[in-house]
């Protein structure tokens, strides 16, 4: 087999895995957009906040330590214990649910029936507020996150591919775990939406608010639920990205990577978010591999956006989005 083709296969595999991570972030956007028509700009910051909270809880950090010390003149930073990662994840989920409830009760509840642009602006405000709170609560230094996910080259794949092609593929264990977790997460979400009472109610609200009210669904409850689920998805994305590149404030920028994924997949489709993520992941890795050397590299920074722009021109509703039909 020609060498170039073997390299291309490795690049494609790596692209698929990177795409899964993009899809994870995009999924959070889709969930909230479907159920409430809100484009949640804060989704990336939620992932950051979730990852920071998880690290903070695991390390036994005192939340708002700086603030407490500044007011009372103490020097506390840590409780002096560490919490096992599983328990810490459960506690972080609880924090994200609380956050969802606060967002609904303090902000979104008062904006029901407003223009989409107003809701969008509210989430921009929420994003910066949440970023500030994260800073105040857990401090701004870069932290490493280790919940026990294996990292580094997968030797089994390396060995097997070496035996077949005479060249060992470099596949990161973390990416494999991320893919498995994402698959489980999506399966779980689908089962939840299709077969549970709350899931059905969630789909109903996504479809028609008035009709949902008339069959006895509380919109407030469902919106808290949706924000909670989006918070959970943000936590999963935060864990994966945080493990990969450390928990730092640039983590919130992964939201920007989700934008082209959403344009490709459509804002209202869960399969769209996944397929869109995979296309972007594979596309940018292959493009960098094939065209990158000719144009001086670093195409990964812009390729996704150009692809998304092309989609906006030819298929504005995305691959799976609901078709836009307008009556004149």
């Amino acid at each position: 087999m020609p060498e170039q083709l073997i390299f291309a296969m490795e690049v494609t595999l790596n692209g698929l895995m990177a795409g899964v991570l993009y899809a994870l972030v995009a999924l959070g956007f889709v969930l909230i957009y479907k159920a409430s028509g809100i484009f949640n700009y804060a989704q990336g910051v939620m992932a950051l906040f979730a990852a920071m909270t998880l690290v903070g809880i695991m390390n036994g950090q005192v939340p708002f330590a700086h603030l407490i010390n500044a007011i009372f003149g103490g020097h506390i930073t840590h409780f002096g214990w560490t919490i096992p990662s599983f328990l810490a994840i459960v506690l972080t989920v609880a924090v994200m649910v609380l956050l969802a409830w606060l967002v609904q009760v303090l902000v979104m509840k008062h904006l029901v029936g407003q223009e989409p642009i107003i809701l969008f602006m509210a989430t921009i405000g929420l994003a910066y507020f949440l970023e500030g709170v994260a800073d105040l609560m857990w401090g701004s230094e870069i932290k490493t996150l280790d919940v026990g996910i294996p990292q580094g080259i997968n030797l089994w794949i390396d060995e097997k591919t070496y035996n077949i092609f005479g060249y060992g593929f470099f596949i990161d264990n973390l990416d494999i775990v991320a893919t498995v977790v994402a698959a489980l997460l999506v399966t779980g979400l689908v089962i939840f939406a299709q077969y549970t009472k709350q899931g059905r109610a969630m789909r109903a609200v996504a479809d028609d608010h008035q009709a949902a009210l008339s069959v006895g669904i509380s919109l407030n409850f469902i919106w808290v639920l949706v924000w909670s689920v989006a918070g959970f998805v943000a936590l999963v994305a935060g864990i994966m990205w945080g493990t990969k590149s450390g928990v730092q404030f640039s983590l919130s920028l992964i939201a920007l990577k989700a934008l082209p994924v959403l344009m490709l997949g459509g804002f209202t489709s869960i399969p769209g978010a996944i397929v869109g993520g995979l296309i972007i992941g594979v596309g940018e890795k292959l493009f960098e591999f094939a065209i990158g050397p000719m144009v001086g590299g670093a195409t990964e920074n812009w390729f996704a956006y150009v692809l998304a722009l092309l989609f906006l021109v030819f298929r504005p509703q995305g691959l799976f989005g609901e078709k836009i039909i307008e009556r004149v």
Binding site: K197, R200, A206, D208, A211, S214, G216
Partner: protein
């Protein structure tokens, strides 16, 4: 509770299910409903009629909790009803349809009708995951009710069809099915025949009568097609410009001078 009456066709009507007492509803300076009182009795088909803009839909929205009246009292099953959100009203057993159809367009007919059963699904999220058996039993029971309603309204052939693909008349029928699936103690129909052709209207009339007959469902409906209403209903409230101008059996209402004036117009001199 005081006893009811017997209709011309021999059906026994029971006591008062819903009583509206001196309801007034304003939107800013506009008075949509002005001091209206009437009642709805167990097992009857009660119509609210009137020309366009008379306040009929507003009245239905007050009953179903979508609007909150500034004055007056709503008594449900003999008890004054506190101010409630629409979903709370629905959970009390009041189901409704909408004038401009509010269905879950992305779901199949079956899933749409299933949402009518949401309030009967008691098993919570966690028990649903843990005790699969109990959840399955509940699901089967709910499915039985839903299938019965689907059979009854003759929409078996479109069970799996996405609602968005259905023609208007069938959508109206699916909406009725969803409301019926909730086994409501009071069913509110907002212009069930609006925009239908004669044949569809006849079908819908038949279904409304059959529902009332078969399940004994109490029905309150709004309609501005006089002919249809008179054939269908046991008692009629007539509204005009937010006021009640008539209340009684179809015959009484037909001969009421105020009603005739409102419908045919009257010379102001």
């Amino acid at each position: 509770m005081e006893e009811g009456y017997v209709t011309e066709d021999g059906r026994k009507i029971g006591g008062v299910v819903m009583e509206m007492k001196n309801i007034t509803l304003r939107f800013g300076g506009v008075v949509a409903i002005k001091d209206i009182s009437f009642d709805i009795r167990q097992g009857e088909i009660r119509a609210i009629i009137g020309p366009n803009g008379a306040g009929k839909s507003s009245m239905l929205n007050v009953i179903s909790g979508f609007y909150v009246p500034q004055e007056g009292q709503v008594l449900y099953q003999g008890k004054p009803r506190p101010q409630m959100r629409p979903y709370e009203v629905a959970r009390q057993g009041i189901a409704r349809t909408f004038q401009n159809i509010a269905l879950f367009e992305g779901m199949s007919v079956l899933d749409n009708v299933m949402t009518g059963r949401l309030n009967y699904m008691k098993t919570g999220l966690f028990s649903q995951a843990l005790w699969k058996g109990k959840a399955e039993k509940e699901e089967t029971e709910n499915r039985e009710v839903v299938e019965k309603v689907i059979d009854f309204l003759e929409i078996q052939h479109i069970r799996k069809t996405p609602v968005a693909r259905l023609p208007y008349g069938l959508k109206k029928r699916v909406e009725l099915a969803r409301a019926l699936a909730a086994e409501p103690s009071l069913l509110l129909l907002d212009e069930p025949m609006a925009g239908m052709n004669v044949e569809e209207k006849e079908d819908m009339s038949r279904f409304i009568l059959d529902v009332n007959d078969e399940f004994g469902t109490t029905i309150a409906l709004i309609e501005h097609d006089m002919g249809v209403v008179m054939d269908l209903s046991d008692r009629v409230v007539v509204m005009d410009y937010g006021k009640k101008i008539g209340d009684g059996t179809p015959d009484e209402v037909r001969n009421n001078q105020d009603v005739i004036d409102a419908y045919l117009g009257v010379a102001h001199d």
